[in-house]
Symmetry: C2
């Protein structure tokens, strides 16, 4: 059996109401220790052990039986069938693809993140844009980042928009939220991690520093940059040289430039 | 006189209706040859000659008289005063900053873009996300790009979200829309511009190519990448090496990595 066989056709259904609430409420997602993923791609890449529920639209169920079967295999989970209209109601996207999973979170501690082989970290200080955070996680996986530490006041990684922007990297890049980022910086510096902040006061260009050692990049808020108390803890300030009248790059673009320079050096 | 002195207090006002329509309708913006910019930063950076109208909220008028005076100087323009409520109505943002300008477009032709000193171009093929297009324009200015050519089916640069994401670079980076990108590629190749496509089939890593000559990067659609007929015209395929399970980067992140590698080489 791939589905429970009974189709939910009302938005007043208690399961439907809960899904809609999970889409919107960070607190509820946290309480349940889950997040929602939508779309066929995110569905295909979900680690089977972490799937807790699957909802499909009638249209999806008819068209994508094989994909569904493959992902369900060995999970012991049956998909819940929603009418297309009800699916549209619970979806966070404008053009729903007809599949939505409730996925169990995998939490890391700072200690676990620090214990990796060749440390390459990102520290995100008060990043606010969910799309930026998602894009950074995706870029980070591509660049070989081993862990991401976010300040507690950063955007929620489990926000549906963030999840989408990660294109699946959220399943694979270890991350944790920490209340006190200056303390985290002390821990990193104490552990021999070279910490770099992209900063207008940087004395050397970002491509002149050596990132082949254990290293971490600090990325600050989209509008106001790094908080002073965080920037102060950085071992080195580096500058991304700008032409034209540009003062700074978008946070995700700056992070991409820095991470791929580190990846470039580490490949050589 | 800094303002006309009469405050518009009704959303039924004909000027207000037109502004609301300009926010939403690409076609109308095009017909009038204008775009809207919001926020104090975009307002400060607007080239005075290109301002055609300025609207301010009552709150902004009281608080930012000096800024307003400075930008209006020599333009012969008087700001129109809107009640805070009416301003909220015409604003495209959730937390309006109280200033909105109607700015005249500056159109470039492909020929003008090609005539620059040391060519460094971007070709955006069917980019769809307004935020991506805006971020790319901002990053491009910082990297020293001399002109951007967008396929006619790409997102509208004059979309309010795109404008915001450029952080002012939209005033300064020459760009044009072209119907036939394969033809543009022929023109570029014929003019001795080295054209590079980031592609999974790339034979060399992106940092192994030489970008110190006249060059252009091709960036494709967020979901489907470069169209075959465009990719075929690229002089060289380069690869951005990926770790983990990442197939490709977000278009704006990939563009940032490529453009700043070119900028790095051009600085040396």
């Amino acid at each position: 059996m791939m589905s429970t066989g009974i189709m939910i056709t009302s938005t007043a259904n208690v399961k439907v109401k809960r899904l809609a609430a999970l889409q919107k409420k960070k607190r509820l997602r946290k309480e349940e220790g889950v997040f929602l993923v939508e779309g066929i791609r995110m569905f295909r890449e979900v680690p089977p052990k972490r799937v807790s529920e699957i909802y499909v639209s009638e249209a999806f169920y008819k068209k994508e039986r094989d994909t569904l079967k493959k992902v369900l295999e060995g999970t012991g989970i049956e998909a819940e069938l929603l009418s297309d209209q009800v699916f549209d109601y619970v979806s966070d996207t404008k053009t729903p693809q007809g599949v939505l999973c409730v996925v169990k979170r995998k939490e890391y501690t700072l200690e676990e993140i620090l214990r990796c082989g060749s440390p390459f970290f990102l520290v995100l200080d008060n990043l606010q844009d969910p799309g930026n955070v998602g894009t950074i996680i995706r870029t980070a996986e591509g660049a070989g980042v081993t862990g991401i530490i976010l300040s507690a006041d950063s955007a929620d990684v489990y926000n549906p928009k963030t999840i989408r922007s990660t294109m699946g990297s959220v399943y694979r890049v270890p991350f944790c939220y920490e209340e006190n980022i200056p303390d985290v910086m002390d821990v990193l510096n104490g552990a021999g991690v070279h910490t770099f902040a992209a900063h207008l006061d940087g004395k050397c260009d970002y491509d002149e520093a050596d990132y082949r050692h254990p290293c971490a990049f600090l990325i600050g808020n989209e509008g106001s940059g790094l908080r002073k108390e965080v920037a102060e803890k950085a071992g080195e300030y580096v500058r991304i040289p700008m032409l034209g009248h540009v003062e700074s790059l978008n946070a995700a673009a700056a992070a991409a430039v820095l991470m791929f320079e580190a990846a470039r050096q580490r490949r050589k």
